[in-house]
Amino acid sequence: MPANRHATLVAREPLDEAYFLLTFRHPEIAHSARAGQFVMIKAGVSVEPPLRRPFSILSVDPGEETFSLFVKAIGEGTRALTRLAEGEVAQCLGPLGRPFTRPEAGTEAVMVAGGYGIAPFFLFARELRAANRSGRVFYGGRGERDLQLRERFTGLVPLVTATEDGSLGARGRVTAPLEAFLDDQAGAVRLYACGPDAMLHAVARVAERRGIEAEASLDPWMGCGIGTCLGCVVFTQSRDEARAKYRCACTEGPVFDTSLVVWPEETESRARRRAKVEA
């Protein structure tokens, strides 16, 4: 059950660029959060900017009753969070949403992260190790500086990097080393993706083509986090549904089966097809 409370910032660690690791005290999240779940959080009690922001939970420490977030200061809300000093409070609601589905025994979890989409996979990698499941991470970004936190996976799971500018790992999209791995892989795998929409869609296509199950963590604008504003809905259609419908990313996601999601490009082509039929 999520809890809404003031969460004190207990540690603030600036990383490269505008990235930060922020650790807050929040017993309910620390004790019950699962990888893929998120929090709605806002610095202090100011009215500006109005809304809380959703963030994937990076890690939890039940002993200390704390959890950590990986935050990039890009707008007003994220800047306000990263400017909090240790001892100051944020308003925080969580843990929220549907977590990643753990792979069956014998199935390897293949995680695909783009930029700060790495966040939920740190908690997931720890969960996998605790459950004695194997996993690996494919981590892509524009350049080396987008691939923060990669050294923290050392000893947890193998991690392969790719950058579009070639500054670290393979040059190009992260789906290239992913596909090379899948080509050589004989055992069962399940894909997990978190990152920009284009990357999520690319992973969904890989999964569909190869007949692999995959889940993606989506990140639309969110108002409330608990299914009341209906602002964060995602266009979806399951195999047994006659027509597509909106599902809330906050309560029915943010982790969705990739086969359930009607990706934006598909929405447009469907609309075009419908327009053709009607004309």
Binding site: A3, N4, P50, G223, G227
Partner: protein, 313 residues
């Protein structure tokens, strides 16, 4: 301290009501807060049938506000009275149901369904949603249609009828009077203001619907002014709505003449705010040596107008 208020036959244990579209059907907040703390709550708008709502993206944050075009996605009236109303009616709070329609007949039909099921304390008539092509603001911006819808809903129920007025009109007092003459028991003032946010890179609106409804603290001064105008124009009580974040904001509406207030966008920002706002409200009454929140209602001393205290009987 007495916090109870009366809006005609509708009795609220305190003047704080959760606004339609910002509180789901109430049950989403179970476990996060005690719904019995609220004076009342207004359901998400309901048509006869389930609705998909508007295309995505549906929300964009603005300075001190939120622009939305949700388009009244909902489960439909029958599913609501069967699955949701019994659950939310267990709490000690007034459950108001926001009714919508593409036609006058649909408003009346939805009202009859709600009227026939136990648990509802009143009907809020949605003649002000800016994010649908039929009904909503199209009806609430036309005095003749306003009269038709409110009269039809009035005939369909014994419950208190509370039209929710649109601010997107030149003179809200005209619509307030039309509603009163058509049998309304109270008014909700105001719904969202029609707005537009443009992405300058793509030169398209940020919202897929195009325009949206603006809410939040950004609209509060306009909302207070319009609720104040409406309250002066009619004898029926008014519920003030628009950008309330704390007791001080709520008190502005009460002093302006509103009997109760609705809290909207702030539900998204802090689902636990009712406890805080009630404590702040009690503290205000104590600080001003008042025993009853009703003593605050309509006490605005406006330049050039006789003080309400002097003209009171």
């Amino acid at each position: 301290l007495k916090l109870g208020v009366e809006l005609g036959a509708l009795r609220l244990k305190n003047p704080l009501v959760a606004a339609s579209g910002t509180f789901g059907y109430g049950v989403e907040y179970e476990g996060l807060l005690d719904l019995s703390l609220l004076g009342g709550l207004v359901s998400k708008g309901l048509y006869l049938e389930p609705r998909d709502g508007a295309p995505i993206p549906r929300i964009v944050e603005t300075p001190s506000g939120l622009l939305n075009a949700i388009g009244l996605q909902g489960v439909g009236a029958r599913a609501f009275v069967k699955d949701v109303l019994p659950r939310v009616a267990r709490y000690d709070t007034a459950v108001l149901v926001n009714v919508c329609g593409d036609t006058v007949e649909e408003y009346a039909e939805v009202t009859r369904i709600v009227d026939g099921a136990p648990g509802a304390a009143g009907i809020e008539v949605n003649i002000s949603c800016p994010n649908v092509k039929k009904g909503g603001m199209a009806f609430g911006g036309d005095p003749r249609m306003t009269a038709e819808v409110v009269s039809a809903v009035r005939k369909a129920t014994r419950l208190p009828v509370i039209p929710k007025l649109s601010p997107n009109v030149a003179d809200i007092t005209l619509f307030a009077r039309v509603c009163e003459e058509s049998g309304a028991d109270a008014l909700s003032c105001i719904n969202t203001l029609l707005g537009l946010v443009i992405d300058v890179e793509t030169r398209k609106p940020r919202l897929a619907f195009g325009t949206g409804g603006l809410s939040g603290p950004a609209i509060r001064p306009i909302a207070v002014r319009m609720a104040w105008q409406a309250a002066q124009a009619v004898k029926i009580p008014v519920m003030g709505i628009g950008g309330i974040t704390c007791a001080q904001d709520a008190l502005e509406f009460l002093i302006a003449g509103c009997r109760a207030v609705q809290i909207g966008t702030s539900n998204f920002v802090d689902p636990g705010l009712y406890e805080r706002v009630l404590a702040e409200l009690r503290a205000y009454l104590e600080r001003h040596h008042l025993q009853d929140v009703n003593e605050v209602v309509g006490t605005l001393e406006f330049p050039g107008q006789p003080s309400r205290k002097e003209v009171a009987p």
